[in-house]
Amino acid sequence: MKTSMLVCVCMLFVLTGCATTKVTRTDVNAITDLSGQWNDTDARLTAEAMIADCLNGNWTNEFNKEKGRTPTVIVGKIKNRTYEHISSDIFTSVLERALTNSGKVTFVADKENREDIRDERADQQAGNTEPATISEKGHETGADFMLQGAIEAIKDEVKGKYAMFYQITLEMVDMKTNQKKWISQKEIKKIVEHPSVSM
């Protein structure tokens, strides 16, 4: 009987080779670290930290005092200097929304969106649009500041384990003077371990 048991155990190992996929829906705010790579939680935490820092900063008040209006900002390049293909749009759009809704800052369309808008405006001039509803060209709002920054990363790795350190820096640069009026940094550190074996 022992030999039969041995064969049965072997058989079990063979049969467990075929597995299935399981999907579970979850809250969008839940922290989900699956691979250890930059994810939605990192983008959200970065945006939250940056929003608080930006709204507490003095640069908007100074501008308001000097010009008598809210500053206009354009989102520029957020450089990716990491080991991953990170889309900075996720946290810059959250930041954009929060700052716009706070009433302290006005955003204008960035370079990419601007081209689409200009194409549409040009199309309006083509004779198919009701004249009273046409948006004329030459009335775009110029930005006072450009939001720029970088995401940098350091990876320290040994077999099956690595530490990843992200540093996200955002700067508000005065378009006229190139002066940096606001700088904010958020740091994130993760340790990722992969088990060497599983069933």
Binding site: C10, G17, K155, K159, S196
Partner: protein, 420 residues
Amino acid sequence: MNIQASVCKLLCYLSLVIFLAAATSCAAASKNIQPQINSLVAANHYDRALTLLGDDPSVYGPHNHLLFWLDKGLAAHLAGRTKPSVAAFEQAEKLYEALYTKSISQMANTWIVNDTKEDYRGDEQEYVMVNVFQALNFAEAGNFEEALVEARRMDQKLKNIGARYQNPFAYFLSGLLWQVSGEPNANEDASIDYQKAAAIYESTPKVLKDLMQEAKDVSRGLRHLDKARVYVVEYTGFIPVKVADALAFPLDRTHLTKISFPRYQDRFSEVASSQVKISRGGVAYVQPTEVVCDLGKLARKILEGHKAAIVTKASIRPLLKYGVEKAIEIPLRDKAGDLAADLFGIAGSIYNLATEEADLRTWQSLPEMIRIVYFDLDPGVYDIAVEDMAEDNSVTDRKNFQSLELRAGDVKFIVSRSRF
């Protein structure tokens, strides 16, 4: 014969039948289309290969999902479809990370059946080549920031790979990407990678020497700002395929077994050399390409490095199977007689011969060689032709890239693939 012996006999037969069925079930249930994909890629029919591949990695069999994503990424890269190529290679990267964790059940299967019962993990070269092609995907699209992400990944991977299996071209490409990136300290970073590449090459390619000199000579500037630079990267030939060396021999009167292990076999390529012809307004410049990466040679070196472990396992496994079969056969002979035991022995031999097969899996759509040449050109519109040549210098194939518009300061990457 008492009831216990009958039950034991029945259980043994039943177990063997189920065991054989289970061991072969996964393979039988799914057909591997990799050979068809390789044929289509070899004939430069990349779009047809992509259509056949689809989105379901199970068409490569249950344990070959990594190979599916590697082939898909490369087919899309060769078809000039950057987005699907990037997406497929990203899937491969995720799978590489997940495959670090080995499944105990699969490991057991490699001892009970053979090494193909474990998920394919790729070798050290394939692990890095994912990032080489990804970097070239981004470079072709002019996105050097994302290309540098791949350069960082290459660097990290190369640190973790043993010095014996380093691919010098990965460092070369990394240096090149730093040099054209416009990042602060670009030339210094490029020089570091160029030096690492030069230290690995048996003979430093002239193109690398030239670029090393350029990176050192900071006063010449990061780029020729009044000219455009065009890098032409050509893949030629196909990486050797793995074939099995097998040896069948008897272990006793009723038991036969087999040892099988892989070796590389060359694939024919008619490309002995290649050149790039650049023309504008009736004036043509011709330059030969230079081999900067011999993937076939490195693949052989890696297999040689792992051969001792592969052969040892291939030799021990049949003995283990024999041990298990004997452990069943001996009590069976006592309880059910010689005929039943002999039949079991014959069934065991059939099982041994059928299941003992070498793991011949590789990323077969990889080229054998990577060749490179670069030009500094005045702004204008150019026609580019990549010409493959046979031993007798006759042109065997020509790929045309027409009406390439270049502006001062532009850096362009053109990727081409030879036929066969």
